[in-house]
């Protein structure tokens, strides 16, 4: 009898921990998932103040540096969005190349990015960017990454 109680207690505690983990997981997934949007979808898909990842190509000739702030435009071939960031630009940041910016969308203002993502490899295009370019028929690469 004692043994059985013990086993029930262990199963109970394990179940409680599992339930806690599951609850944390689902709550976490609901709150901290960041959606990816292309510049042309920003106004329609993103809620004001929502954290999103904006992906596209850096428009040639739009990169401006003022002190520690950098601004540049990102395009998916249809719409250009102005991005402002205090973040250090990654070493692979180039005009005309793919970039992913994470930050908050505020309607009517420049996209405030607190993170501009770098890649290890200059030939690598973030999948989201390739996806956005393909949707717009701007894809010029060979095989799908």
């Amino acid at each position: 009898m004692r043994r059985r109680n013990q086993r029930l207690m262990i199963i109970g505690v394990a179940g409680a921990v599992l339930a806690l983990a599951a609850a944390l997981t689902f709550a976490g997934l609901r709150d901290s998932v960041v959606y990816f949007v292309a510049p042309s979808e920003l106004a329609t898909k993103a809620q004001p103040g929502q954290r999103v990842r904006l992906g596209g190509l850096v428009v040639e000739g739009t990169v401006r540096r003022e002190g520690t702030i950098t601004t540049f435009a990102v395009t998916d071939g249809a719409v250009e969005v102005l991005v402002r960031t205090h973040d250090e630009l990654p070493d692979l940041f180039r005009e005309g190349q793919g970039v992913v910016c994470e930050g908050q969308y505020v309607p009517g203002q420049a996209f405030e990015a607190d993170r501009v993502l770098a890649k290890h490899d200059e030939n690598y295009m973030p999948r989201e960017v390739a996806e956005a370019l393909k949707q717009r028929g701007e894809w010029k690469g060979g095989a799908t990454p």
């Binding site: 013990q6 921990v17 944390l24 709150d31 901290s32 520690t68 070493d91 989201e128």
Partner: protein, 644 residues
């Protein structure tokens, strides 16, 4: 010619490994055939080693008629990076995977110890098939010896960001860790085929699990340090899919290290240990898939090929399918577990396993969730650090609360009250830390709880060593010298986890950063120091030129120290790389990155300053854990020698 011999050696290794697999798995009862399987295993390893040595030779000769050499090497490259170039690319790293798998098979085959014939032979056999699978993939989908026609005059060079001494050791260590999980997998399948997983089996399993866990610990730690000093890689830990890919097998390997102890000492948990071994290797393969397929957007991603991803996925399905299939079919045949009380060493290890496995599961869900959402048409999403911080940290916190109790309890039935009494000083110290941290941070609960747990783990580990020294009579120094290695190894690993926790919590919770524009001669006050830009000049490296900024850092103690940061421009690549300057002191690191020249005000440069408090504790913790794993291996080897 060398490339062709290399390809031939790899093909020969494939044929030999298939022979090794067939002999070991299908004829495990014959002493001569098992010996033949062992000989095949050694021959497989020799051929793989020859193939890999020839690949390194091709890199040393800068033979640009070979595709991987042309795309990853350059005549100007320093020697170290020519050699490391052999595995700093996809094709070469897969050949390394094969070499490690074949070598582990050969080492296992050479040291039979007291294992039963069937178990030994079958493990060699399964390991042979694992090596064969990797070789098939390497030869047919990513052949490192493929020629390029016409051959270019000069190579395109290793990605400059990878030109770092860490590239020489970080990938091989991770591969030893990933592939190291293949031996426990082979042992698990052999045990299922034999229908027996006894204490001798667990004894054979433990060293391999430790090898895998220790290499993963050091490999991940080194990668973490590399990502920390390389700007733009997200810092020491970023919950990036590629980082998670190595963290999941690490968690499962950690669980396996502990459950194998229970199976060896008490004969219980055998079927759980087998399940962990299968899942550990499955997660190691999944890691390879995630890194190589490019299905997830990662900071650490390289150019990728979806076909290869599918091939790795097929290997993963075969390994898991065979593994779980055998498990479902045969697990019930395994021996009966011996009982233990709810408060005992065993039960604590069960909780450890439960916590680590659930944590691995949560990381897995967070990592593949974007894939699932995309597959069901939910759009492209990413799951970032907030998710993992909110889910994994509480689970690990629960685990850490229980951790110091485990070693204090005896096997079968432990005395909780006595254990708690001994741990009282650690608990008091931990609560004091909590109160001080709460007051000092103005009631920021999360970092305060984190610091408390770190102190609890360290103090708990020290108290355990202390209680072991209380046992028996004799001089203190004599007892200290006689303390078993196993006590040291376990305590070091647990204290290391505590030290790492302190560093991680302090860095995450109390990091400060600032971006300024400085002209030579100008200075700025930051984190209790004064940082002055002295001058900016240009210097010549072996295959790059660099802009270097020299700083003077005036510490609050009055001491002045030099510090420099660079931007490097490689001859072979259009992009500059940033070499940060790091000045370590007791309270943490001052981390300085040189940015661009500011256009409007001539002569001024963008400089980014970071203060990372106690960040070195993260890496000291990793070193302590690695030492713990290494000492544990030595202890096992000694025990084996003592009782042949």
């Amino acid at each position: 010619m060398i490339a062709e011999i290399g390809a031939f050696a790899a093909a020969l290794a494939l044929a030999l490994s298939l022979g090794q697999g067939a002999l070991g798995v299908f004829y495990p009862q014959s002493e001569t055939r098992a010996a033949a399987a062992a000989a095949f295993a050694q021959a497989t390893a020799l051929c793989s080693a020859l193939a890999f040595a020839l690949l390194i030779t091709l890199f040393l000769q800068s033979d640009f008629s070979v595709a991987v050499v042309a795309s990853h090497s350059h005549i100007d490259k320093p020697l170290l990076y020519k050699i490391a170039g052999a595995w700093a690319n996809h094709e070469g790293s897969m050949l390394l995977w094969c070499l490690v798998s074949a070598s582990f098979g050969a080492i296992f085959a050479s040291v039979r110890g007291r294992q039963s014939l069937g178990l030994w032979a079958r493990t060699i056999g399964v390991q042979g098939f694992v090596t064969a699978g990797a070789l098939i993939y390497t030869l047919f989908l990513s052949n490192p010896f493929a020629r390029l026609d016409p051959a270019p005059w000069i190579g395109s060079g290793l990605n400059p960001l990878l030109q770092d001494p860490a590239v020489a050791v970080h990938p091989p260590l991770l591969y030893v860790g990933y592939v190291g999980m293949s031996v426990p997998f082979s042992l698990a399948l052999a045990a299922l085929l034999e229908g027996k997983a006894d204490q001798a089996w667990a004894r054979a399993l433990r060293p391999w699990t430790l090898v895998a866990w220790t290499s993963l610990t050091l490999g991940i730690g080194l990668g973490s340090y590399w990502a920390y000093y390389e700007l733009g890689w997200g810092g020491w830990w970023f919950w990036d899919p590629v980082e998670n890919a190595s963290f999941m097998p690490w968690l499962v390997a950690a669980a396996l290290v502990h459950s194998a102890i229970v199976t060896e000492r008490r004969g219980s948990l055998a079927s759980w240990t087998i399940l962990l071994a299968i899942m550990g290797f499955g997660l190691a393969l999944l890691g390879t898939f995630l890194v190589r397929s490019g299905v997830l957007t990662s900071v650490h991603a390289f150019a990728v090929d979806p076909q290869r991803g599918i091939a790795v996925l097929v290997m993963l399905s075969v390994a898991l399918g065979v593994g779980f299939g055998l498990y479902a079919w045969r697990a019930s045949k395994l021996g009966q577990p011996s009982g233990f009380a709810a408060v005992s060493r065993e039960s604590m290890l069960v909780w450890n396993n439960f916590g680590l496995a659930v944590a691995a599961g949560v990381v897995l869900i967070g990592t593949i969730y974007p894939l699932l959402v995309d597959a069901f048409g939910g759009g492209l999403i990413s799951v970032g650090p907030p998710f993992f911080n909110a889910t994994v940290s509480p689970l690990l916190a629960l685990l850490f609360v229980l951790l110091p109790l485990g070693p204090m309890l005896t096997w079968r039935k432990g005395d909780l009250r006595a254990a708690l009494k001994k741990l009282a000083p650690a608990a008091i110290l931990a609560v004091l830390t909590l109160i001080i941290a709460l007051v000092a941070t103005q009631w920021r609960a999360v970092p305060a709880i984190g610091l408390m747990l770190g102190v609890w783990l360290i103090a708990g580990g020290l108290i355990y060593i202390w209680t072991r020294l209380q046992r028996g009579a004799g001089k203190f120094s004599a007892k200290l010298a006689l303390l078993p290695l196993a006590v040291w190894s376990m305590s070091l690993a647990h204290i290391g986890a505590g030290v790492l926790t302190l560093g991680a919590v302090a860095e995450t919770g109390f990091r400060t950063e600032r971006a300024v524009a400085l002209a030579p001669g100008e200075g700025v006050a930051f984190a209790g120091r004064r940082i002055t830009l002295l001058e900016v000049g240009s210097i010549e490296g072996p295959n790059y030129t660099a802009t270097r900024a020299n700083f003077r850092v005036d510490q609050s103690s009055g001491a002045a120290q030099p510090l420099s940061a660079e931007r490097r421009y490689f001859t072979t690549s259009p992009m500059p790389t940033t070499e940060v300057g790091i000045l370590s002191s007791i309270d943490g690191d001052l981390y300085v990155a040189l940015g661009e020249q500011v256009r409007e005000t001539q002569g001024a440069w963008t400089v980014r300053l970071y203060h990372n408090p106690l960040v070195h504790l993260i890496f000291i913790g990793v070193i302590l854990m690695t030492l713990g794993g290494g000492l544990s291996l030595v202890a096992l080897a000694r025990k084996r020698k003592a009782a042949p």
